[in-house]
């Protein structure tokens, strides 16, 4: 009996030494907020040193939070009243801990002043965030940018947005009749579920390569602009007839007829397995708020579901974050690095408390498959659907465009996923622009401005 008690005490010590740190950082630990009585919430700073959230305390000890760049970082940083969101939620624990030196701590304790909390250095780059924010302009949509070999998120924009400095009015608006259906608080980059449109052809292509590893490049197709598969009529964009094409051409020209044809030849059960390996219908390795993607085809599905699904219409839904993960794995030799937003934690004097580094989630596909997809996606930007945006750029791009119809009246969202410098990828991006048919903004154009900014910075 005594031995069991000693075991229990050893367990308590083990918990305190090795587990407590992670446990108490859980955003559901309400105790974090009681730290706010003695600690002034720390700053949130971009990787290039720009303060995007800060606190000030007045003479009566009331702390107020301000966001110097307002809505530009709205969803990324989040808000700290009426609940919490974004980094304010995810990093709450660290912002409310103070690792200030002991002398200053005692001095402030005696004066009954609050200690300065630790600062969060994010992975986000101010210039890229600004470029993405401006490129999206007044359109609804999302942009998310990441380093494929580390998982560092460099920019994350969602529109429509809000001004976190003005959260009182935002909240009042959301609870008014006029604003009750508003989605301005939704972070479309991680929570917005969209039909993937033609960007999903990358997944269909991957499955085709998996099922035909030796002769996939012998594929040929004659496109007449439209075709009927399993009773479903599939049109190419504007009913353009692409003529005789190879597999590479089918992707480059984003040929719907050809991909529906490919889809009909796939094993439904295997296709489902591949999408599961790509994290559809599952949790994503991401610490912030997000939604899971949907993919509905499995070995029991009827064949009429396939033509639409193979070209990214149908019932498939994906978030820009998840599409980014897939494309980043292609860029990184098949390995997905976990996307992360917190680079390091520093105390108020700038001394480093904790440093985060890239962690691998594992392989979503083999290195060979990633290389093939990368080569084909380069064709999209060299001579295919995205060529008119990237021809003449000082850098190479591998990518995939998409136009996803979301109703029967021709309204559609524009997609772009891709990465620059395919030989040794620098950054990858996922962009969605809502209602591109009416606002005339293409996701590829948004991606182009972000890439331009990135290479101008170098």
């Amino acid at each position: 009996m005594v031995t069991i008690f000693v075991g229990m005490m050893a367990y308590v010590v083990y918990f305190m030494q090795f587990r407590a740190g992670t446990v108490i950082a859980n955003s559901r630990n309400a105790r974090q907020n009681s730290f706010a009585e003695v600690v002034e919430r720390g700053d949130i700073i971009t990787s290039d040193g720009i303060v995007i959230a800060t606190s000030s305390t007045d003479s009566e000890g009331n702390t107020s939070r301000s966001y110097p760049y307002g809505s530009m970082f709205a969803h990324l940083v989040g808000y700290d009243s009426y609940g919490k969101s974004g980094l304010e939620l995810q990093a709450n624990f660290y912002l409310l801990r103070s690792h200030i030196n002991i002398f200053e701590r005692v001095y402030r304790e005696l004066k009954e002043e609050k200690n300065r909390g630790d600062n969060i250095i994010t992975t986000v780059n101010y210039s890229l965030q600004e470029a993405a924010y401006n490129a999206l302009g007044g359109c609804k949509g999302a942009v998310i940018v990441m380093e494929p070999d580390t998982g560092k998120i460099l920019a994350m924009v969602s529109k429509p947005d809000f001004d976190p400095n003005d959260i009182d009015n935002v909240w009042a608006y959301l609870h008014s009749d006029e604003g009750k259906d508003s989605t301005i608080l939704l972070n479309r980059a991680t929570q917005g579920l969209y039909a993937p449109g033609s960007t999903f052809k990358v997944v269909t292509l991957l499955e085709y390569i998996k099922e035909n590893p030796y002769d996939y490049d012998l594929y040929e197709y004659d496109c007449s602009g439209s075709e009927i598969y399993a009773g479903v009529n599939i049109h190419c964009y504007d009913s353009t007839a692409h003529g005789h094409e190879s597999l590479a051409d089918s992707l480059a020209y984003s040929c719907n007829s050809s991909f529906a044809n490919i889809g009909m030849g796939l094993d439904f059960g295997e296709f489902n397995k591949t999408t599961r390996a790509l994290l559809f219908n599952s949790e994503l390795p991401y610490e912030g708020e997000y939604n899971q993607s949907d993919f509905v085809i499995d070995e029991n599905s009827e064949s009429y579901a396939m033509p639409q699904t193979a070209i990214g219409q149908g019932d498939t839904r994906i978030t820009p974050l998840h599409n980014l993960m897939i494309v980043s794995a292609i860029a990184n030799g098949g390995t997905l690095m976990k996307p992360y937003l917190i680079d390091s934690i520093e105390n108020d004097d700038g001394a480093r408390i904790k440093k985060y580094s890239g962690k691998s989630y594992g392989n979503l596909m083999t290195a060979e498959e990633a290389q093939i997809l990368s080569d084909y996606m380069k064709g999209v930007c060299d001579y295919g659907t995205a060529a008119r945006y990237f021809n003449g750029a000082s850098y190479d791009v591998a990518g995939k465009t998409g136009t996803a119809e979301y109703d029967n009246e021709g309204n559609c969202n524009s997609w772009f996923i891709g990465f620059s410098n395919p030989d040794n990828p620098d950054i990858c991006i996922s962009v969605v622009v809502e209602d591109s048919n009416t606002n005339g903004l293409s996701a590829s154009a948004v991606a182009k401005s972000v890439f331009d900014t990135y290479y101008n910075m170098q």
Binding site: M1, R19, I24
Partner: protein, 464 residues
């Protein structure tokens, strides 16, 4: 200024707690009467200091004059008890009275911080309980044939246990039907039945001289387990079962009963799980799931354990200081989860020391049991030691996520009238056993002395 006094008190409280704990163990191994008394007196001083610093902090943080009055009454009663009990019963264990008073005081401190009225209620019932149970050693001395009523104890206990099913009397709490309520006054029959149960098993074992007696004993005991399982009070069933197995092993000193008993227990749990996981053991399953990953079930069954771990982790080794944490937000922090509240505000170091104090109490129980020459008293002391240690383990293990939580109280520290009264009875019975065996030892000593004297006279060749 207030901050600094409270911060310093926080560290001093842990320091004196550690000193107190060390004394608990060193006293057990000291035989010299003089140094023993010195150590026991020192313990009382430590109790006084710890209690004083805690109430000082509480007063500074909460600023109510009621606290000062309550403090005064508490420390008076505690010291009065520690001194007077031993004056009346010269042969009682002073270590045990010290620990009894100390555990109660820790309970009062945390309860005052959580809910002043609850603390006062606990104090009143515990004080009345201390007065009443003080007569137990006296009664045990008078009536020396308590061992003879085995079956009677068995039946009375069983009848009392099933009162929870009497319509209008019993009620269900947290998925277990183990409370009765009389005119708004609630108690848990199990808390008192466990006392009778040990007396029943002890007296059956004393007169057991055939295998048939053991079987009869086992069957009635099995009926207890059955009732507890039907009440869905699995924590209590475990306490009764382990106690029973330990007592049988002690009486027969055959390892086969210990190993076999534990084996049957494990099989019973597995069998119960397989057969009734969707009906009888449903709420047990919820607790096991919550134990495996409390954070995944934080909005359901894992809520309590998550909050408990948040509390301990955030408080850290030295704690947040009394009234500076959020111990009041831990679910049922006044009873089942009081240990998390203690860890959060007084520190995990204090909590670890408290676990050691509890172990030392168990060891002192076993010590008293082993010294007793009368089988019946030996068995009941041993049975109560088992009850105390198993219940403490279920409670502490549950709140620290070492084992799934079973919803039992931490004896004397947790709020609960039934729990405090029954523990006080148990402690007093142990004192009674201690008094009886010490008296007997003294008598034997005298007897030996007399015989030696006669022998010497005889050998000197001049008997008269």
């Amino acid at each position: 200024m207030v901050n600094i006094i409270c911060e310093i008190s926080k560290y001093l409280i842990i320091f004196f707690m550690i000193l107190y704990t060390v004394k608990c163990f060193t006293i057990l191994s000291v035989n010299d009467e003089q140094s023993r008394r010195k150590k026991l007196n020192k313990q009382i001083v430590y109790v006084f200091i710890i209690h004083f610093l805690c109430y000082l902090t509480l007063y500074l943080r909460m600023g109510s004059y009621k606290l000062l009055v309550f403090y005064g009454v508490q420390i008076f009663v505690a010291i009065f008890y520690m001194v007077v009990f031993h004056t009346i019963y010269k042969d009682s264990s002073r270590l045990l009275t010290n620990n009894t008073a100390f555990l109660l005081l820790i309970g009062y401190i945390i309860l005052t911080r959580l809910d002043f009225d609850l603390a006062v209620k606990q104090f009143i019932f515990a004080t009345v309980g201390m007065v009443i149970t003080s007569f137990i050693p006296f009664i045990m001395n008078k009536w020396r044939n308590l061992r003879k009523y085995g079956v009677f104890y068995g039946v009375i206990g069983l009848l009392f246990l099933i009162t929870v099913w009497v319509p209008g009397l019993g009620k269900e709490v947290y998925g277990s039907r183990n409370w009765i309520s009389i005119h708004g006054f609630t108690l848990q029959p199990m808390e008192f039945v466990k006392i009778i149960f040990v007396m029943f098993v002890a007296s059956m074992l004393v007169k057991a001289n055939s295998f048939g007696d053991l079987v009869l004993n086992a069957m009635i005991s099995a009926a207890y387990m059955g009732v507890l399982v039907l009440e869905k009070d699995l924590g209590a069933a475990v306490i009764f079962y382990v106690t029973y197995v330990f007592m049988v092993y002690l009486a027969t000193s055959r390892p086969v009963f210990l190993i076999g008993g534990m084996g049957i227990g494990v099989l019973g749990v597995i069998g119960g799980y397989v057969l009734f996981k969707d009906s009888l053991f449903r709420h047990v399953m919820v607790r096991v799931e919550a134990w495996k990953n409390p954070f995944a079930h934080i909005d359901g069954g894992g809520y309590q354990v998550s909050q408990s771990l948040f509390a301990m982790g955030t408080g850290g080794y030295v704690g947040s200081g009394l009234a500076m944490g959020k111990a009041d937000t831990i679910p049922v922090s006044e009873s089942d989860f009081i240990f998390s509240a203690i860890c959060e505000e007084l520190g995990v170091l204090f909590g670890l020391a408290l676990i050691l104090v509890i172990i030392s109490i168990f060891l002192s129980f076993v010590n008293i049991a082993m010294k007793s020459r009368k089988a019946f008293y030996k068995y009941i002391a041993f049975g109560y030691a088992a009850i105390y240690v198993v219940q403490s383990f279920l409670n502490l293990g549950g709140v620290t996520k070492f084992i799934p939580s079973t919803g039992v109280t931490l004896p004397l520290v947790s709020y609960g009238v039934s729990s405090v009264l029954s523990t006080l009875i148990i402690f007093s019975v142990i004192q009674g056993v201690c008094v009886i065996s010490n008296k007997e030892a003294a008598k034997n000593e005298k007897e030996k002395e007399r015989i030696r004297a006669i022998k010497e006279q005889y050998q000197s060749g001049n008997p008269y």
